[in-house]
Symmetry: C2
């Protein structure tokens, strides 16, 4: 029975990837956390990726046309700030940020963050997150993909979609999840627990 | 040269369908327009489908959790009211309406409309519009599809997607356009003028 469970699990992990919707969120440096909140980040609950957490702290994100209130801040702190929004959010802010993988902030537009302790203008860092799949090396081997690959991802959701041009990132520090933003998640009718399938 | 233009056009119409993003909107009856606005609908500008227009009038749409202000009203008036929103909008309203083709209002949730002249509770009519392609009989013949078919639609957009389960509606009263809602349009990086391709 234990062998059967292991086999079932291996088959499932060879065929499917669990989907997750990523809401708008902000990453900040330690110095920026001090400036915005008067202290460092306070972990509230862990996220699916090991070591990552939702912080108790929230910020207002302001663009030329409007603001988004109570935006989630994710920890731990990073070396450079980054603000990840959906295109729907970007329209509300009045900006057209590029679609980028996390960390690729070169040439992204400026944006302003406001916390209870102060305001902070980021010279760059606003982006729409590019859809991507985090994978463990084991799951990547099972699915025959490598770090840096681009794949098609079929969603097994109520409004099924095949997302093209999905980035694959492989690391032993990851847990295997496909990350969509809320436009993509709503567009495909995503509900928590829904699965996707990598197509070749 | 004129023959060449005609040939080019026929090839393009055999291969592609122009995409269009449909924002949230409301359809009302003549009696409901009177109740909400104190008069009938006033055409502001024509829409892509012949005879359809954006009205000068706007309404507030209210659900159990929130409201959407200044929502577009489309004319001409219909036999029954209908409110088409995205899933993002539905979350703001605090409702989970089903994904439906326009006109298929049976079993959809209630919603409240407010105009300058009065308020109106609809016992049903709130839906997320199901993605669909309007086609002329000529274009449907060129693309080998029929009214009622379900196809896959590949978007030639900045975040390419293949939408599965796209409804095809054919009528001599239509102009050929694929209609996405704003979640879908933003999720695929749609810009006005972008094309899609029906896959088989």
């Amino acid at each position: 029975m234990e062998n059967l469970d292991r086999l079932t699990d291996a088959i499932a992990r060879r065929l499917f990837v669990e989907l997750e919707a990523s809401g708008r969120h902000v990453h900040v440096t330690e110095a920026q956390a001090q400036q915005l909140f008067g202290h460092g980040l306070t972990p509230k609950r862990p996220l699916s990726q090991p070591g990552q957490y939702l912080a108790e702290e929230r910020v207002t994100v302001t663009g030329p046309k409007g603001s988004l209130e109570r935006v989630a801040v994710l920890g731990p702190v990073r070396k450079e700030a980054q603000v990840e929004v959906s295109r729907t959010d970007a329209v509300a802010l009045g900006v057209q940020p590029p679609v980028r993988l996390s960390g690729d902030v070169g040439g992204t537009p400026p944006v302003t963050l406001t916390g209870p302790n102060g305001e902070l203008r980021l010279e760059r860092g606003l982006m729409v997150a590019r859809r991507h799949i985090h994978m463990t090396p084991e799951d990547a081997a099972l699915q025959h993909v490598q770090d840096g690959d681009t794949v098609r991802l079929k969603t097994m959701t109520s409004r099924p979609v095949i997302f093209e041009d999905v980035a694959v990132r492989v690391s032993p520090d990851f847990r295997t999840y496909a990350h969509l933003d809320y436009d993509e998640a709503n567009g495909c009718g995503y509900e928590p627990g829904d699965l996707g399938m990598i197509l070749r």
